[in-house]
Symmetry: C2
Subunit: 170 residues, 2 copies
DNA sequence: CAGTTTGTTCATTGAAACTTGAACACTCGC
DNA sequence: GCGAGTGTTCAAGTTTCAATGAACAAACTG
């Protein structure tokens, strides 16, 4: 019944203060709900904690993760707008900072990720509707009606998105 | 670059019509976004497609999954309110039906799952705030301010839930 | 241009999750 | 109570996924 001890704890974090460890643990835990790899939560947590910028090899050495994990994690985080890279003149390393403003974070997510998924779902639903309405496919009674229901809910969800956006700005 | 062929396709489905297969494929795919096991998507899809009820061994034979998977999948689906069991007099088998009304589905989810998670997040944030405000923990400059920001957003999200509930009823 | 630094890619490894199937517990009818 | 029918549990096998680290590509420096 006991949870594995490694679930929440960062692995090697010799150079981190207790406060930083707490923040990282928090984001690792949060990431689990979004089914994100632990390393992603660690990276975002470390950047959130410092408030400033860190380079890839700083993340590697302070978090004790591999260069590969750090590279891939940073790519994912930049992809969803959770981390920004800043280039400094006279320094060849990239400097990464956490986007800590939730509205900005969600704005990027809603625009890039969610709308893509919505359109994808739209497509799939359309194809599904075609399939169940083809008499050759032997759809059970009332199935096309239930699928039409799904379509209408999908439209409703789409209308909900801007509403949430507005709410977040308040 | 090619996806594994097994990703979307139900495994053994000899007794299913093409329309049913399409519906099942749809829910298996949808389940992937929620990181649900394939068998769960298959079960819900099969119940959604028929519209009526099915027994455990009907699901087993028509989907070609094991009794164990079916039992566990049905438990999960009943747990989140996506499937209801109905008991019929004169029949020892349990009959299962999909809850196809999205508002009902989400009502259960919002009440049972989300509020629990919200409270959990609340707790964690409180402990995090305590930790970063303890001078002994060496928090970087401005960290407690950023964490307070998280707290205020969490409260905002909590207020958003009933709003979404209302919207779904329209 | 050779050497160094920086970041990415990818095959391999290891761990966690899903599925299976058989053993088990429970209930009903006789 | 006995036997058949129904559903659950759990150890073992299989699959899936994240982490690693070495090889690679790109960009700068002297």
């Amino acid at each position: 019944m006991s949870r594995p001890a490694t679930l929440d704890a960062p692995r090697a974090s010799g150079r981190l203060t207790p406060a930083e460890r707490e923040v990282i643990e928090f984001f690792v835990h949060l990431g689990r709900y979004l089914s994100l790899p632990r390393s992603v939560g660690e990276i975002y947590g470390a950047l959130f904690a410092t408030g400033g910028t860190m380079t890839l090899d700083e993340l590697v050495s302070r978090l004790g993760i591999s260069k590969g994990s750090a590279s891939q994690g940073l790519r994912l985080l930049r992809g969803v707008g959770a981390v920004r890279a800043s280039y400094r003149p006279g320094d060849r390393k990239d400097h990464y900072a956490a986007e800590v403003e939730l509205p900005n974070l969600l704005r990027g997510f809603l625009r890039d990720q969610l709308s893509v998924r919505m359109n994808h779902a739209n497509e799939r639903l359309g194809r599904l509707l075609d399939a169940v309405e083809d008499p050759a496919n032997g759809a059970p009674d009332g199935l096309s009606h239930r699928v039409e229901r799904l379509v209408s809910w999908q439209k409703k969800a789409k209308r909900l998105v801007p509403l949430v956006s507005t709410f977040l700005k308040m």
